[in-house]
């Protein structure tokens, strides 16, 4: 029997085409959509940087840490709700359909699903194999419409996460900010960890292991690490202009070398650049998967033609 299915139907659209389409979707969407994203994500990332900078000084009480963690967790929930609304606006722009968004329901669903990701995703990353599917599940959860019933929605999320694994893994590898964060963490923490384990390690071996970690980090997230390198150079140049005595420089540099707060800022900036495109990719992916069943893409095209005529 001849297989009549095209490559697109079997594996989804090519990854580069999907990323290109998501870029076009973002460009054609009203500016307010991207503003909505940044209004949701910037408070959390800024909060995270302050949280990190304060917490690495060990002279704070547990009550202060608890209060700071509470504020940061509320900012996290705010970001997830905002990202869901951003995806809803993108989907509305894509399909031309003006669906009403039940914000309270969306908030409840996102607050119920997304926090599990901060535990599940690192575990999946350690096991390595199911990370792509787990990542797709949470990305589709952010991009989902909160109108259907809960059981159906979870089933649909699972189906969407399992669909077209080749495309999903390629998008995750190229654009996932989580892999960039893991890469930066590995580059930051592994050399001191090895020095702690073996203090008498020769310098040549230290250099070799550090280079291996840097190469692995670059290979695991090429776009993110390139972006991170750009932000690092820019920040170092800015710091060299402000001088090493300023309070910002003292927080970002420790004895002339970049501190972990510096790495957090770089990761946050890379996240803010990459994540809107990742979300747009998953909105499109969901749209393409649903279109195979409901012909949503044809309806959207008809709606556009009717609006144009």
């Amino acid at each position: 029997m001849v297989n009549t299915k095209t490559f697109d139907q079997q594996h989804g659209r090519a990854t580069t085409a999907l990323i290109d389409e998501s870029g076009q979707l973002l460009r054609s969407a009203p500016a307010g959509v991207l503003c909505l994203y940044f209004a949701a994500a910037v408070p959390f990332t800024a909060g995270l940087v302050f949280f990190w900078a304060i917490m690495i000084r060990s002279n704070h009480s547990i009550w202060f840490a608890a209060a700071a963690a509470l504020v940061l967790s509320l900012l996290f929930v705010w970001m997830k709700i905002g990202q869901n609304l951003y995806c809803c606006r993108l989907r509305q722009h894509l399909t031309g359909r003006r669906d009403t968004v039940d914000i309270l329901r969306a908030a409840c669903i996102q607050t119920a699903i997304q926090p599990t990701g901060i535990l599940t995703l690192p575990i999946c990353l350690v096991i390595a194999l199911p990370y792509g599917w787990a990542c797709a599940f949470y990305q589709h959860a952010t991009a989902m419409n909160s109108r259907a019933s809960d059981s159906k929605q979870l089933l649909e999320l699972r189906q969407h996460a399992m669909q077209w694994p080749l495309q999903n893994h390629a998008v995750t590898w190229l654009l996932s900010p989580a892999l960039t964060i893991v890469g930066v963490c590995a580059v930051m923490t592994m050399p001191p960890l090895m020095r702690l384990i073996n203090p008498a390690m020769p310098l040549a071996l230290q250099v070799a292991t550090s280079m291996i970690f840097i190469v692995v980090a670059v290979l695991s997230s090429p776009v993110g690490m390139l972006m991170g390198a750009n932000f690092s150079v820019t920040l170092l140049l800015l710091l060299s202009q402000t001088g090493c005595d300023s309070p910002i420089a003292s927080a970002l540099l420790q004895a002339g070398a970049p501190s972990s707060t510096f790495a957090v800022i770089v990761c946050c900036l890379a996240y803010l650049c990459m994540d809107p495109i990742v979300k747009a990719c998953y909105v499109l992916r969901g749209h393409h998967i649903r279109s195979g069943v409901t012909a949503e893409d044809l309806h959207a095209r008809l709606r556009r033609i009717r609006a144009g005529s």
Binding site: I56, S73, L119, D150, P192, S210, S259
Partner: protein, 97 residues
């Protein structure tokens, strides 16, 4: 016998389906497909809109899960704060060699 072959709502029209919930005979205009089943209008309404107490219970359950989610995030960040406070200074300085 003609009563069984004609639609409940439109006596002039032939029956094309029988609603599996209320078993009423219906014409083409009175049935609609939902979840691979042909349902009449009233049964469709019952299926789509859950009863009020059910909906209320579900909302309470969802709010409880959402609160548990918030608690989980808070515990995660609290644990992160404690790890950061007690990590050796070498981990906070990028010195690859």
């Amino acid at each position: 016998m003609t009563g069984q072959n004609k639609c409940r709502n439109h006596p002039g029209r032939d029956v094309v389906a029988r609603c599996p919930r209320c078993t009423q005979a219906l014409c083409r205009e009175c049935v609609t497909e939902h979840d691979n089943r042909m349902l009449c209008e009233s049964c469709l309404r019952t299926v789509i809109q859950p009863t009020a107490p059910d909906s209320k219970r579900k909302n309470v359950a969802m709010a409880a899960v959402a609160a548990a989610g918030c608690l989980l995030v808070w515990l995660f960040f609290l644990a992160t704060a404690q790890i950061l406070a007690h990590a050796p200074a070498a981990f906070h300085r990028f010195a690859p060699w």
